[in-house]
Symmetry: C2
Subunit: 381 residues, 2 copies
């Protein structure tokens, strides 16, 4: 009679981490059943306020934290959101991740981050891992992903958020970035300054967004009667290294443009670097425009004129899009598209092209400000 029935087995609870307290301890201390504790924690209104108070006190005393795994197991909701980015080391993404995380956590979700590094095998394993951890939805922010890899998610009717484009299915929402507007502003800004020879360094062209940005550039140029020759549209990689390589290629070709637009800011920073190495002055000899407006852009030398794609907007739309797919009662549950605006931010990497009004631009004293006098209106007589 010394050992009660449960002691004969090697109880699984022995494996439990010390200090972990379960709903049972709370129930015991409060003198109620575990059902009541659960109801209290989940704020079911039917539980008697006095009892509830006792339960909360017990929870406090024993330091109870509900076990999320058990919760997820029974409810079928893990309250985790997957967030797939292409490279966490590209500064654009940490900013996005940060915003996304803040919003998700505020809504009671946890974030499962993964970067694909443009590697299909890695992406595949990432998706499998997310499925195993049974995330409630996935935001695919890589700006271009192999369709077939996502198939698994689509099959399981996972709420999904894509950027730019995605299949038209009930659980899928798409964030439409307005590439056109921002890039048009950039092109017109340069044209207004007097530039006629404007080059463009694209991202990797298997990415839908890279193509979209390039097309927006070509279209904006055409609108004002300009065309860039083929050798002035160079494919890059959306990295600083790519920016350097692309710019060096262009430099080697001779016949330099007077301005270079880039598909993202990292590329632009690479371009600045390449021009520094070859002692070309920016913006005096060549103007440079980026895209994204990452935090770093304002600290580039010179501070980078760039097209802003609001990270906050993007993150907010992603989280809301996922919630809309997960929570049936969400106000925008029916929306399928979410529009992300862009706009030009003028800093100091753009100026009049060499030869026009040189005296004005040469005095590079301190105190240059974002609202510098190099605006389109000044150019017009």
């Amino acid at each position: 009679m010394a050992s009660p029935v449960s002691a004969t087995r090697n109880n699984a609870a022995d494996r439990r981490r010390p200090g972990t307290v379960s709903i049972r301890e709370v129930a015991q201390r409060a003198g109620v059943s575990i059902a009541t504790v659960s109801r209290t924690v989940n704020r079911i209104p039917s539980v008697n306020p006095d009892l509830a108070k006792r339960v909360w006190q017990a929870i406090d005393e024993v330091g109870y934290l509900p076990n999320t795994q058990a919760r997820a197991l029974v409810s079928g909701r893990s309250r985790m959101l997957g967030l797939i980015v292409s490279e966490i080391t590209n500064p654009f993404f940490p900013e996005l991740v940060q915003e996304f995380e803040n919003l998700a956590v505020a809504q009671g979700y946890e974030v499962f981050i993964g970067s694909t590094n443009y590697d299909p095998a890695r992406t595949e394993s990432l998706i499998r891992r997310m499925l195993q951890r049974s995330v409630d939805g996935v935001a695919i922010m890589t700006f271009g992903i192999e369709e077939e890899l996502v198939q698994k998610l689509v099959e399981r009717e996972f709420p999904l958020v894509f950027v730019d484009a995605g299949p038209d299915l009930p659980n899928i929402r798409v964030l439409k970035v307005d590439y056109g507007e921002g890039i048009r502003q950039g092109v017109q800004h340069l044209a207004a300054l007097g530039h006629r020879s404007i080059a463009f360094i694209t991202g990797p062209l298997y990415m839908r967004s890279a193509v979209a940005r390039r097309d927006a550039f070509v279209k904006s140029m055409a609108e004002i009667g300009l065309t860039a020759p083929a050798e002035h549209i160079v494919e890059g990689t959306h990295t600083m290294e790519g920016g350097i390589a692309s710019m060096e290629k262009m430099l080697a070709l001779g016949e330099l443009p007077t301005a270079v637009m880039c598909s993202n800011d990292m590329t632009a920073i690479g371009v600045l670097h390449a021009l520094y190495r070859t002692t070309h002055k920016v913006p005096e000899e060549i103007s440079v425009v980026g895209f994204d407006d990452i935090h770093l852009a304002q600290f580039a030398l010179p501070p980078l004129t760039t097209v802003q794609m609001s990270c906050k907007h993007l993150a907010a739309a992603a989280v809301e899009g996922l919630r809309a797919g997960i929570e049936p009662a969400h106000p925008r549950a029916a929306s399928k598209q979410w529009r992300i605006p862009t706009r030009l931010v003028v800093r100091q990497s753009t100026a009049f092209p060499r030869g026009t009004l040189p005296a004005l631009m040469q005095n590079a004293s301190s105190g240059r400000r974002e609202s510098s006098p190099r605006s389109a209106s000044e150019l017009r007589p």
Copy 2:
């Protein structure tokens, strides 16, 4: 008799995500019990090879993925590692996160990332969230955290990894970064070039690592008979903004140093920015040295001479340290400390101080290489 017993209840399985298959389906299809499936999946050698093959085939056919939540619930191990950083938007950390994640995933772990943003409330909630998700261990890579917040983790005997310093307890491992060596190399490099007036911009001094770096600087200076006046040791924030502010403060004071060392690369990039704005040339007028050697450092203008703290090393040590605490059979289970080396990487932000050998330094053509001829030996007659 129409409805069997289980159909009378509103079965919880109804809530299951479509496409999800459980171990039961596999067992049924393979014609074995769920125990056999489990044993097969976990590669328990006692299961008959023929049976195992049948089971694997069934797994493949139905597309079974073991539910991690259920696994974690029964085993008490979630196979998740917590990773706490201070700011994911500081480029140093994504690099660390990336490495950490690669290693963790290779070992079958998932990573739960969180950034404190230097906010104790946020840190508190982060730790609570990690506890709820029952991570197996936590690496605290913030280089300085409030002791009391960690208390909760310590109490629960969580395997922990700290950077720089941590309590001496059984489950805790510390990564000791050798700040001294790298900073000494930096100071001696500058001194060898001829600098005597070297300033230092620290990190926020409530961070242990910031203090350690400053102390290493002061010590290295003293070793070669130099002292920096108080106004040449300025507190920064480990951000670009902080670097700008600190440098501007120093500029306002007059009595400029000929070289500035910074507690991290972001600060150094801020310093470069401030000097650009005030048209001071780097390195001709002022030399700048960073710390960390983030990827961006080589793309700064000019490319930044900096003290490298190997991210790969740090991440590898963190993962191994955690595994050592979690898995009793780990080869280094007994180790308490892990040493992280540092070393100077010379690029182009350092040169002879103004006035000494100016002609040699002025020809800033391309082709400057890391192994430039500005070494100590050249200086000595």
